[in-house]
């Protein structure tokens, strides 16, 4: 068992500040939107990047700094992916990334938090609140691995992405659910 994992199990020891560097292969954001008032359509942003600061102590709160490249949007349809990159949706040419930077967090159970932060999308920054949980701490070949999952809901119109809400009416929903799965390699801060 790594020293980081041991630290997690011995809360009486002073917390060791840890920078968790996200592993893009195992970090992904799923988004869900209603299509034509019917099905709930899921897409994803692959290869999230960023860091999480957390000392692995159950009572302490993490801070998140996560970036998704719009070019990594993946719906399973090449045509749809192309549409999402355009100005009617993410406008990837002018706003190539979406970021979430947490500003505060409150404990909401064992290794669960209500995390507030700033979501920047299409050049618009809005405060959002996400429910986050540390899903586990494990051992990888290169050391400790830490996993998180965050869920939040936003209105895409708040970020200027209005096509398909009123014109054409109800082609696509305004409410978007995001499920963000993160996994990173924990490195003690120097």
């Amino acid at each position: 068992m790594s020293s980081l994992a041991l630290a997690f199990q011995r809360p009486t020891e002073p917390p060791a500040p840890v920078a968790i560097t996200l592993d893009p292969v195992h970090s992904v954001a799923l988004f869900r939107i209603q299509h034509l008032e019917a099905g709930l359509f899921w897409g994803r942003f692959n290869a999230l990047e960023g860091t999480v600061q957390w000392d692995l102590q159950p009572g302490s709160v993490p801070t998140f700094d996560v970036t998704a490249k719009i070019a990594n949007a993946d719906t399973g349809s090449e045509k749809l992916d192309q549409n999402l990159q355009g100005p009617n949706f993410f406008n990837a040419k002018e706003f190539p990334v979406m970021t979430f930077k947490s500003t505060s967090a409150a404990n909401a159970g064992e290794r669960r938090w209500k995390v507030k932060g700033n979501l920047t999308l299409r050049g618009v920054t809005r405060e959002v609140e996400a429910d986050c949980v540390a899903t586990g701490i494990g051992n990888g070949p290169a050391g400790a691995k830490v996993g998180f999952e965050c869920t939040l809901e936003i209105k895409r119109s708040d970020f200027g992405m209005k096509w398909g809400i009123e014109k054409p009416a109800k082609a696509l929903g305004d409410d978007v659910k995001l499920v963000i799965a993160l996994e990173g390699d924990a490195q003690p801060k120097e």
Binding site: N88, K93, G123
Partner: protein, 258 residues
């Protein structure tokens, strides 16, 4: 289905038909016989169709945001494709001025004058408007395309020139639709329909070559800038060659013996 029909009606059909109908009413009224007024009406109608369709696809703030106007509670960023709306607004205002001035000046060589005004407008467009990824070569192509298309449209017979403009706008609309840029497709379709209606009317003579060229070049440059990186560049450029083809085709047909 009803939502789609309403979308097409409010974004394409109404902007095009109302603008063109207003221009036709002017050309058929006594004021339409005043030199330059029929041309001014057609140029403004096409620009208003583009502006109206643009605002239907985004909002009025997208144009106002580019002007020195204070807009409380508006923190949306400027997006480069919003220049389409600003260009349409400028053309709508400038088209009558240019048309009336040209009719009053009565240049000896109208196509040389058209080319000169087209070059000035093309240069201004190239300097003022850049879409994502546009280098200086892209902007130079847009500027030259304005001058060439302006002369080709003005040199064509009125119906043929407006028909060429409609075909060019339709080509841009098709390319935009294929590329997933639905707003641009709708705006270009509105211009295509307005130009087509004016072509059928046939009373807009001489046709507003520079105004149409600026609108068409702007829409084509916008689509070119936002195209998928893997998509070819040349179709967007080639679309602006349609007015030249229309003019050349018209000359060939006129030379054929009856």
């Amino acid at each position: 289905m009803a939502a789609l029909a309403l979308y097409l009606l409010t974004t394409i059909v109404l902007p095009a038909l109302v603008s063109a109908a207003a221009a036709i009413a002017i050309t058929r009224s006594p004021i339409g016989r005043t030199p330059g007024f029929a041309r001014a009406a057609a140029g403004t109608a096409c620009a208003v169709a583009v502006l109206w369709a643009f605002m239907a696809e985004s909002d009025a703030n997208a144009v106002l945001r580019q002007l020195p106007v204070s807009m409380p509670k508006d923190d949306a960023p400027f997006e480069r494709w919003h220049r389409v709306g600003l260009v349409a607004l400028v053309v709508a205002v400038a088209a009558p001025v240019v048309a009336v001035a040209a009719s009053m000046a009565r240049p000896r060589k109208p196509f040389v004058a058209e080319a000169a005004v087209g070059m000035v407008a093309g240069t201004a467009l190239a300097l003022a408007v850049a879409f994502p990824g546009d280098g200086s070569a892209d902007r130079a192509v847009t500027g030259v395309a304005v001058a060439v298309a302006a002369v080709a449209l003005a040199a064509s017979a009125p119906r043929a020139g407006l028909g060429s403009a409609a075909a060019t706008a339709l080509a841009v609309a098709g390319l935009a639709a294929v590329g997933g840029f639905i707003s641009l497709a709708a705006i270009a379709a509105a211009l295509a329909l307005a130009a087509l209606v004016l072509a059928v009317n046939g009373r807009s003579r001489p046709i507003p070559g520079v105004a149409l060229a600026v609108l068409l070049a702007t829409l084509a440059a916008c689509g070119h800038g936002y195209r998928d990186d893997s998509a070819a560049s040349w179709p967007w450029r080639a679309a602006l060659g349609i007015p030249v083809l229309g003019w050349a085709g018209g000359r060939v047909l006129r030379k054929k013996p009856a």
